[in-house]
């Protein structure tokens, strides 16, 4: 029996990774076949983070649990959410998309029509412009996690018809310059999108990681606008008005505009700046001395991530991490670095570089350019501090004495507070 040997083992100083149960005989028959697989009940704790003050709200955002995920694909159930009037339930049989305005032939498409067009599947990140908002806090939040630092971003394989094909089908009239896509959510959400970008790479997407879009990501049809801020990638898309002026809609004027340090307010800051976040080891995790693989995610709205660097001395020196293939444009990239932790306190920084030569600023650099009361496009380096006992905490240093914080990119509802 196991008793004797285990009794012996229990005497050892360091607890070995076995107990009676390790040697228990295997169980009998497991579950039979099932039509749609669910997660193990032991994984039920892997969920999106919803800020306690947003649990009952219909306009808000929640975060993908970045440090609990591997690779680059965000599982559909964990893709971050952001909406302005709740998630509508749309019957795909009744779904219609209308393209009208400055076109030769206003057209209405059924979902079946859209699927008959030539299709494209590509992996693209989508990031809320409000991602990183917790970085505005001073002093920095000691309980920050990778999720709460950068989890308003996700990455999926999107399938759809190039918007360019639909526009050609309708025949865009000379003089048209703008598209006003509209959602079928309660807010009838609209934004302005230059025709040029649409002709380049915008998708009218109906699938996400192989299956139909999830309701929170716009079922049955959404825009995917590679590299640009999430809020322009209109979900539950019901029509596109082709016109010659931008709408200057509420969410491109009163929201999603950027208050710079010099007092200017920038409109149409569409491209998402390079980002990286170390997901392991990261805030609120605990590690032991010895070997670890530092792991993280990087992306840039300017195209391909070319390099990710890690610093162990708060930016004095940098070492290049490995990027795991395939490294795709406008998509999450997984970076890794083998590392031996000697048990001494250390601060980890990471920064991404993209094909246009952009990289991430330090916090000081970021705030020199962007105002402290801005709400969007925070992409400063995130630091993690490993304490001697192995606990990992926010390693960002306070900036001066003044306390400030993110008061929300959700119309007065803070994302996370």
């Amino acid at each position: 029996g196991a008793g004797g040997v285990l009794g012996l083992l229990k005497a050892r100083a360091q607890t070995p990774p076995w107990d009676e149960e390790t040697f228990a005989p295997m169980k009998t028959l497991g579950a039979p076949l099932s039509e749609y697989g669910q997660r193990s009940p032991f994984e039920e704790g892997v969920v999106r983070y919803i800020s306690p003050n947003l649990r009952t709200r219909h306009s808000g955002a929640d975060f993908a649990p970045l440090e609990k995920l591997e690779g680059v694909i965000t599982p559909n159930g964990l893709h971050f959410e952001r909406h302005h009037g709740g998630v509508p339930q749309v019957d795909p049989a009744k779904y219609r998309l209308v393209i009208h305005g400055m076109v030769e032939r206003p057209l209405v498409f059924t979902l079946e029509d859209l699927k008959r067009f030539p299709s494209v599947t590509r992996t693209y990140f989508i990031e809320c412009a409000g991602n990183g908002q917790n970085g505005y806090r001073n002093p920095p939040d000691p309980n920050l996690t990778a999720t709460r630092s950068r989890g308003l971003a996700s990455n999926a394989s999107w399938t759809g018809v190039p918007l360019a094909l639909l526009l050609k089908e309708a025949g865009v009239k000379p003089g048209a310059k703008w598209l006003i896509p509209e959602g079928m959510d309660a807010a009838a959400y609209t934004r302005s999108l230059p025709l040029e970008k649409a002709m380049e790479d915008v998708l009218v997407a109906y699938a996400q990681n192989g299956e139909a879009l999830r309701p929170e990501q716009g079922y049955p049809v959404r825009l995917v606008v590679p590299g640009w801020e999430g809020s322009i990638q209109v979900k539950w898309l019901r029509r596109i008005l082709v016109t010659d002026l931008p709408a200057m809609a509420k969410d491109e004027t009163s929201e999603y505009t950027d208050v710079m340090a010099d007092g200017k307010v920038l409109a149409f800051t569409w491209v998402m700046d390079p980002e990286s976040i170390i997901t392991y080891p990261s805030g609120l995790q605990q590690i032991k001395p010895g070997f670890h693989e530092i792991r993280g995610l990087a992306w840039s709205g300017y195209g391909r991530v070319t390099k990710v660097e890690i610093s162990f001395d708060e930016g004095k020196t940098w070492r290049q991490a490995t990027l795991e293939p395939p490294v795709e444009r406008y998509a999450f990239v997984r970076f890794k670095m083998p590392w031996h932790w000697d048990g001494k306190e250390v601060v980890l920084w990471s920064r991404a570089w993209d094909e246009k030569g952009n990289t991430q600023p330090t916090r000081e650099e970021f705030f020199k350019k962007w105002g402290r009361n801005n709400r969007y496009h925070y992409n400063a380096i995130q630091a993690w501090r490993i304490l001697p006992d192995g606990r990992v905490v926010n390693g960002d240093r306070p900036l001066g004495q003044q306390a400030f914080g993110p008061v929300g990119g959700c119309d007065g509802e803070v994302f996370d507070g």
Binding site: F117, L245, M248, K250, V259, K264, R372, G412
Partner: protein, 174 residues
């Protein structure tokens, strides 16, 4: 094999043409452009707006638009500075186009009962909110013609993102 003869640039003949008339019917909450296109006939008055506001909006935005539980709608008619807390951003100090107000209220308010306001009611509410923010006088009528003319104080702060300017040299802000 003639089966595959799809000339480049040819149409796919998918989708169904829809008449302008039907498209207009589908256009449930028309987009209002900064030049006033999309605005319906009708006119708004501040006093009438005050009445509708008290009934349909005050519970979420405060009796005088000061906010709570939801967004503050009223601010001094001076643009924000980098020191202004985002919670203070509101129509008077941050909104750059008066037309946005019409578009947004018709489109998305009152929260939870969107699409229930008449075009006329929206005009009244816009007039009232512009008045409360110190942008217009109590007697100024708000309509198709006047609304696009209303100058918003924060407009002077607004500039195009430099990267956007670089990529789309033709692009200017209305």
């Amino acid at each position: 094999l003639a089966l595959l003869g799809l000339a480049v640039g040819a149409r796919y003949n998918l989708g169904t043409p829809i008449s302008e008339e039907l498209a207009a019917q589908y256009d449930l909450r028309p987009v209002v452009l900064p030049d006033g296109r999309g605005l319906p006939p009708g006119e708004g008055r501040v006093d009438e707006g005050e009445r509708i506001y008290a009934e349909k909006c005050a519970s979420c935005h405060g009796a005088r638009g000061e906010g709570y539980p939801f967004n503050r709608l009223v601010a001094e008619p001076f643009p924000i500075t980098p020191a202004t807390e985002p919670a203070e951003f509101a129509i008077g100090n941050y909104w750059q186009y008066a037309t946005t107000l019409y578009d947004y209220i018709r489109r998305a308010m009152p929260f939870g009962a969107e699409g229930t306001l008449t075009n006329e009611e929206v005009y009244h509410l816009v007039a009232f909110l512009l008045y409360m923010n110190g942008i217009i006088d109590a007697h100024e009528p708000i309509n198709q013609k006047t609304l696009p003319q209303v100058k918003m104080p924060a407009r002077e702060l607004l500039q195009l993102d430099p990267e956007t300017k670089r990529r789309f040299p033709w692009l200017t802000l209305p």
